[in-house]
């Protein structure tokens, strides 16, 4: 098996758990050097970087709140300072915001926080990643959207709005830079076994898990590794003609009425 991301430097936000964690490990397995980033989960993020190093890879942790411009600049700067380049940006940090709160009852501050992290955070990460990629003459970016970027769901309108917007942002930026060697895509994961889902569903309760799985055509909730495999492929040369696409990884969920 040839390593598909040899000599690449990859940045993963939201890298301390869930899809980000699995993707950090997958990038490393494919030969990439990985900068793992997280806003608050320093311990776990540091441990992930250490584990990658123990397995013979190259990785470090950089703390950053993607909603904070200075943090994002520092994150990209630290990546360049340490490893000299940036080839892959996986902009995956995000928050669900409060659950089961209908639009009229949502607070403005909750709205602002979700938009800041999910949408502005993705914008800021791209902005500074792109500057570096333009200097290098190429790169690839994947932004984490969601099936909530394709359809509505009750009680989390700010999340749904921000994830829809991530697709718009992805398409626009992809068009801006397609002629300059940079591919930009989004992924739309469905239900996935991550802390984000566990905040709403007790996945240790088999009956609760089954209730969700029964609504999914493939009959199971995704593992984060299932999503990471897709991100790796999108970042590889095998996807050389794919840009501005929102790739759904939902076991068929959104194809249903």
């Amino acid at each position: 098996m040839v390593k598909r991301l040899e000599n690449k430097v990859a940045l993963v936000t939201g890298g301390s758990s869930g899809i980000g964690e699995s993707t950090a490990f997958a990038f490393a397995r494919e030969g990439a050097t990985v900068v793992v980033s997280s806003r608050s989960n320093v311990k776990s993020g540091t441990q992930i970087a250490r584990t990658i190093e123990e397995r013979g890879g190259k990785a470090r942790f950089v703390q950053a709140d993607v909603a904070n411009s200075l943090d994002v600049q520092n994150l990209v700067n630290e990546t360049i300072a340490t490893y000299g380049r940036l080839d892959i940006g996986f902009n995956n940090a995000g928050t669900q915001g409060p659950a089961a709160v209908y639009t009229a009852d949502s607070t403005e501050s909750d709205w602002d926080r979700v938009i800041d992290l999910n949408l502005t955070g993705t914008f800021l990460c791209m902005k500074y990643e792109l500057k570096q990629m333009l200097e290098q003459g190429g790169g690839t970016i994947v932004n984490t959207a969601s099936i909530s970027a394709l359809n509505g769901t009750r009680g989390c309108s700010s999340y749904v709005a921000s994830k829809h917007a991530v697709i718009g942002l992805t398409k626009s930026a992809a068009l801006d830079y397609a002629s300059r060697g940079i591919r930009i895509n989004a992924i739309c994961p469905g239900f996935t076994k991550t802390p984000l889902l566990e905040a709403f569903v007790d996945l240790s309760d088999a009956a609760a898990e089954k209730r969700i799985a029964d609504r999914i055509p493939l009959g199971r909730i995704a593992n984060p590794d299932n999503i990471a495999d897709v991100v790796v492929w999108l970042c590889s040369d095998a996807a050389s003609y794919i840009t501005a696409h929102a790739l759904t990884i939902d076991g068929g969920f959104t194809a249903q009425l």
């Binding site: 397609a178 055509p217 493939l218 009959g219 003609y241 696409h245 759904t248 194809a255």
Partner: protein, 252 residues
């Protein structure tokens, strides 16, 4: 990457040229036994010759995908020889007359495009699914198009059928997901194939200008996407129309 599809039996329609030929060759390079179909005997034979350099057991049929009894015979032949199908890449399609707007579009032309592009995929899936259900395992990719998601002037039947393929893919995907069969569509943009019919460099550069990535795709780039959809790396991807269009559709 090689050997991802070792000991798989792959069936490819429209394999006599373009994306179908590239995918057939790609499947073979990944270790699959490849069965190809194309009405174009000459093109099919050329693909078969290429395949035989890679794998010893390739075979070529020349059924009309829109003809039930021809397809029935074809699949009986496959079952007799191989006993199963693991991968179905339903890729046969025709553009129909181009440059003719809807009001002027001939009914006969309409029927032929619908028959090949839409009914052909229905029939291919119907037979593939019956076989795959026996082992509760398999993966299917249907070739739609970027015009399966957006409109295009002067080929209403092509646009309608390619949209229809996405609908058919979604419907079948959710029916059979629980039976171990994943079904997806691929939506290529402008690809260097006979169907695109590039005339000269000027024609190519006119098309390339409309593509954000600034060039037409090579058939191998679409084949990569198809092979990936068929691999275990895409194990949670189902009912998805995967765009491989260099950004064309994302434009207004």
């Amino acid at each position: 990457m090689s050997g991802r599809l070792k000991s798989k039996i792959a069936f490819v329609t429209g394999a006599g040229s373009g994306i179908g030929r590239s995918a057939a060759i790609g499947f073979a390079k990944e270790g699959a036994t490849v069965i190809i179909n194309d009405l174009d005997r000459e093109g099919g034979q050329e693909t078969l010759n290429d395949l035989k350099k890679i794998c010893s057991s390739a075979s070529f049929y020349s059924a009309d995908v829109a003809n039930f009894s021809q397809m029935e015979n074809l699949f009986e032949g496959i079952i007799d020889k191989h006993g199963r199908i693991d991968i179905g890449f339903n890729n046969a399609g025709v553009p129909g007359i181009t440059g003719v707007l809807t009001a002027d579009y001939d009914e006969e032309d309409w029927h032929r495009v619908v028959a090949v592009n839409l009914k052909g995929i229905f029939l291919s899936m119907k037979f593939e699914l019956k076989i795959m259900l026996q082992r509760k395992s398999g993966v299917i990719v249907n070739t739609s198009s970027v015009v399966g998601m957006g409109g295009f002037r002067g080929c209403p039947a092509y646009v309608a059928t390619k949209h229809g393929i996405i609908g058919l893919t979604r419907a079948a995907a959710i029916e059979y997901a629980q039976s171990g069969i994943r079904i997806n569509a691929v939506c290529p943009g402008f690809v260097r194939t006979p169907l695109l019919g590039l005339r000269d460099d000027e024609h190519e550069s006119n098309i390339s200008r409309r593509v954000p990535l600034g060039r037409v795709a090579e058939p191998e780039e679409i084949a990569e996407a198809v092979m990936w959809l068929c691999s275990d790396e895409a194990s949670y991807v189902a009912a998805h129309p995967l765009l491989v269009d260099g950004g064309v559709l994302a434009q207004i």
